[in-house]
Amino acid sequence: MVDITPADGIPPAEVAEVELYHPHSWWTKYVFSQDAKVIAIQYSATATGIGLVALVLSWLMRLQLGFPGTFDFITPEAYYQFITMHGMIMVIYLLTALFLGGFGNYLIPLMVGARDMVFPYVNMLSYWIYLLAVLVLVSSFFAPGGPTGAGWTLYPPQAIMSGTPGGQDWGIILMLSSLILFIIGFTMGGLNYVVTVLQGRTRGMTMMRLPLTVWGIFTATVMALLAFPALFVASVMMLLDRVLGTSFFMPAISEMGEQLQHNGGSPILFQHLFWFFGHPEVYIVALPAFGIVSDLISTHARKNIFGYRMMVWAIVGIGALSFVVWAHHMYVSGMHPYFGFFFATTTLIIAIPTAIKVYNWVLTLWRGDIHLTIPMLFALAFIVTFVNGGLTGLFLGNVVVDVPLSDTMFVVAHFHMVMGVAPILVVFGAIYHWYPKVTGRMLNEALGRFHFWVTFLGAYLIFFPMHYLGLMGVPRRYAELTDMTIMTESAHHLNSFISIMAFIVGFAQMVFLFNLIWSIRHGREAGGNPWRATTLEWQTPQTPPAHGNFGKDLPIVYRWAYDYSVPGAKEDFIPQNIPGSFGPSKEPA
């Protein structure tokens, strides 16, 4: 560490440091911990655990789709339950929790130069309520009638009728209760992330010096705090419809020839509420991925991110735009055509900031000193996957093109590419990148490369053929196609092919999990800054960072996060806490 002269252009501390909570026992240190880093690991482990359930569910679905009629235990009802739980778990309990609760908790305090989140106790509660939400969700597998099979969008009226698995049993009740709990827990954490970024930064850390990872997580959290309320309200109302017999979403309807008590509700209202949450949710998952991948590319290409400010404004712009596009999920629900026109326009406008981001990633790579490390491989894979998924988004965003493609496998392929595979590739890249900071050891390189190539190529072999099936009109949500004549003959075995690929990719994830556990003890020693990165988390005195993160004195930030390969500097990176007098900066003035 260099000797830091405090006067070097940095204002003094505005407030005294808040005393940290110091744990006294094993329980308060590792279980009921108020340390954001421990909470992050708890969040990540829980999310990974429930994610494995979703992975197994996807295997079961692929067993049915690839080899229909072979497995007796996969009834159509069971298939719907698998599809519902797979979707809900992946979107909310895995990706949202992992990006915001996992990466957010670990990286925000370290990257902004704080000792912890601003309210560690509330932060701890956030995790335990999340865990409770997960347990309620899991319990629905063991409830009479099993989990809900309403599809991940839970559209009423079918979601609470007896024809749907779990509709008149416990499934839907547990699902909605779990969502309500998740939102309460998330709000507690989310408030912490936002306030820590806004009010808890260290000296010299301006908003425009934040690493893009923090910008992505921060914006996504703000969006989540404004979008989850709609899901909360929708869940409460559907729960009342189901339990008390109200008619918020239930029109006059008959079931098995009998008129139900419901009357006068609006199923479309649920769709509006759901997608007012649901569309921002796509970006709640995508924006942290955008941010993280920017940092991975810059670090591993040894080059400053191209157009940092544009990247920030693109993140903020995407976040704002995503609140005015929700009805593009409802083109076939029955809308006034002018609404479709409006929502198609706003949807396509999102292509502008996302294209800016893609161009900037590519321009960052342009003539960079590209190290094909595993995080970099995943980052590159993300860019191509995101472009692929984004392009099909242009198709689906147009009303006239969407109508025939709606409810086909094309849609499934699109959203898996853009918000399934792409963010998960970033999750993997981020884990390979930050694992050395969390554990002090590197993940095994050979296993990592195996994992990357199987996952990357496998994901394409799974989802590319799905586009083709969708264009031929193969519908989604069908447990079995009895009439194969809608497909050309050569495509008849495509579903079996996709299924086999899915098993192979799933197997590669087991290798990854083995690597995660094995490397804790047997990985190569990483040292404090194995990637020679500039951001503050790599400058901590201890690795893994100790309680309080930064030792006696908080770091002071003198430069942006992207001083790589600065001409005239001794090394090809200058950490953020190195004063300007020790070398020039490429930070835009």
Partner: protein, 239 residues
């Protein structure tokens, strides 16, 4: 008044208006200067909570404008028979008066809190809590009255079933907010009374010391709950 520290440690007047906001947001450490963590967190929570109540009210309005059967007339439904004549909305008027008054006592509590007047602060907070509890009590009375008249979440004698659903859901959710507020008012009042904010006594759960600002943060929540009631009053009872 508004000052900011420059990079060489001197204070200079902070630019006013939008320039000031831009200067604050492009500075280090804090985007909202002179705003504590707790206060910032409460404001952001209230923003999120606004969206919850907004969604509830929008859903109610959707149900009300799209129903094909008559909506019960609030003036008649919420009338009380006092002295032989029906007085429309009288109970709601009293409830609203009580709740708005509690905002006044809350504001006074904040004022005395910053003057370090422990006794008056605690008494005014308890008075606020009492007014809040009165409000919840009157709400319970109103619920009881409607239930005995046959209003249920799934139907009522006078018209659209959504009347009862929306009424119980929205007033119930608001009443829960008031109840939580009353509980926390009592907790904070006790801390003020005991002098926790002077002696630096640590919180039982958080093990952090509190400050008199907590009274103000509590007040933010309380005023918010009152403001929400104004909207519920306008959209549900006066419409």
């Amino acid at each position: 008044m508004a000052e900011t520290l420059t990079h060489i440690g001197q204070t200079e007047p902070r630019p006013a208006g939008w320039k000031g906001i831009a200067a604050d947001w492009s500075s280090d450490q804090r985007a909202f200067k002179n705003v504590s963590w707790g206060k910032a967190m409460m404001w952001i929570f209230l923003l999120s909570d606004t969206f919850i109540f907004g969604c509830f009210l929008l859903s109610y309005m959707t149900a009300r404008i799209s129903t094909r059967v008559p909506w019960p007339n609030p003036s008649e439904v919420f009338a009380l028979r006092i002295g032989g004549s029906d007085i429309p909305l009288i109970l709601i008027a009293i409830m609203t008066f009580v709740l708005i008054s509690s905002s006044g006592t809350m504001a006074m509590a904040v004022n005395f809190g910053y003057r370090r007047d422990r006794r008056k602060t605690a008494i005014l907070m308890l008075l606020t809590a009492a007014l809040g509890a009165t409000f919840v009590g009157m709400q319970a009375f109103e619920w009881t009255k409607l239930i005995t008249e046959g209003v249920r979440p799934w139907g009522n004698p006078w018209g659209a079933a959504q009347f009862g659903s929306c009424f119980f859901m929205i007033t119930g959710f608001h009443g829960t907010h008031v109840t939580i507020g009353v509980i926390f008012l009592i907790i904070v009042a006790r801390k003020v009374w005991r002098g926790d904010y002077d002696t630096g006594r640590r919180g039982f759960f958080t093990s952090r010391t509190g400050r008199y600002e907590n009274v103000e943060i509590m007040g933010l929540y309380w005023h918010f709950v009152d403001l929400v009631w104004v909207f519920i009053f306008a959209f549900f009872y006066l419409w």
